[in-house]
């Protein structure tokens, strides 16, 4: 039996062959991205097909200005909802340190507002270089589960290079410390 840790650092016992196939497909899709646009499309497909959401925001860490501008979004207007505010300062610090912030209680079904279900740090060289926000879940997706946490971990560890490519290293070199929500 294999043990592994999920994105929250909890021990997960055993593996599920179906989940391994899903993780393998996600990893392959990201790795085979031809360019940044294709990687972004791959990220959208992974979130829609495997995690059950079609409302996504991606924020790029700019340490130079201490801000998190919107890099890309799908299904929502991130500026309108001020998504990162929902994290709060403490939550943002945790995500910047590399922890996923996930609402395991399930989706907001009211439809009246866009509620963030997960914040996933996109990491490169032990630094968070972007934050992925996943919003309302599809009606048939009731809540994230432990397998989803493994997929968040994969995105956190492996999405940076396909998404930001060769810009990753040079960007990090010019970025200083400090960040605000």
């Amino acid at each position: 039996m294999n043990d592994s840790k999920n994105a929250s650092g909890q021990k997960v016992s055993g593996t599920d062959p179906m989940n391994d196939l899903r993780l393998g497909a996600a990893r392959k899709r990201l790795a085979e991205s031809r360019n940044q646009d294709d990687a972004i499309e791959g990220l959208r497909e992974i979130i829609a097909n495997f995690l059950g959401s079609e409302e996504i925001g991606l924020f790029r860490v700019d340490r130079g200005t201490g801000t998190l501008p919107v890099f890309w979004s799908f299904g929502i207007d991130p500026e309108k909802y001020d998504l990162l505010r929902a994290l709060g300062e403490a939550g943002l610090r945790r995500v910047m340190r590399g922890e996923c912030h996930v609402d395991l209680a399930g989706g907001d079904r009211s439809g009246a507002m866009t509620k963030v279900q997960a914040f996933v740090p996109i990491r490169f060289a032990n630094q968070t270089i972007a934050i992925l926000a996943i919003l309302r879940l599809l009606p048939q997706k009731l809540a994230f589960d432990r397998h989803d946490m493994e997929l968040f971990k994969l995105l956190s560890d492996e999405a940076a290079q396909p998404l930001f490519g060769s810009n990753v290293d040079s960007k990090l070199a010019t970025e200083g410390p400090g960040m605000r929500a």
């Binding site: 179906m18 196939l21 899903r22 497909e45 097909n49």
Partner: protein, 123 residues
């Protein structure tokens, strides 16, 4: 001879995942198409035992492709399972009106997908 499934989706990720599940967890063989129009053509050429098809696709959507396959004598009897992110009753009803046999929603549960496909094709 292995039974053949035509897997149709414009998402490379979904195609990859569904194909992996079906080929690694069953004995079926998969062929793929990236939209409804290609699916109609491939169904006529490949004579699959089942079609697993996304709904929202460019060129021709899954509902239209399903209707076209039902009009062609060579594809009329092939079981068609639609796969989509839209789970509303009205949407599912539209799927059944187009002629599909079954309907599953994304995110696809691998075990459910295998069980559903096996219910049509046998193990």
């Amino acid at each position: 001879m292995a039974k053949k499934i035509l897997v149709v989706d414009d998402s490379k990720t979904a195609l990859m995942m569904e194909r992996e599940i079906l080929e690694k967890r069953t004995t079926y063989q998969c062929v793929t198409a990236a939209d409804g129009q290609e699916a109609v053509e491939k169904a006529q050429q490949e004579h699959p035992d089942l079609v697993l098809m996304d709904v929202v696709m460019p060129r021709m959507n899954g509902f239209e492709a399903c209707k076209m396959m039902r009009q062609q004598p060579s594809t009329r009897e092939i079981p068609i399972v639609l796969v989509t992110t839209r789970g509303e009753e009205s949407y599912m009803e539209a799927g059944f009106q187009s002629g599909c046999n079954d309907y599953i929603t994304k995110p696809v549960n691998g075990a459910e997908l295998v069980a559903l496909v096996q219910s049509y094709l046998g193990e």
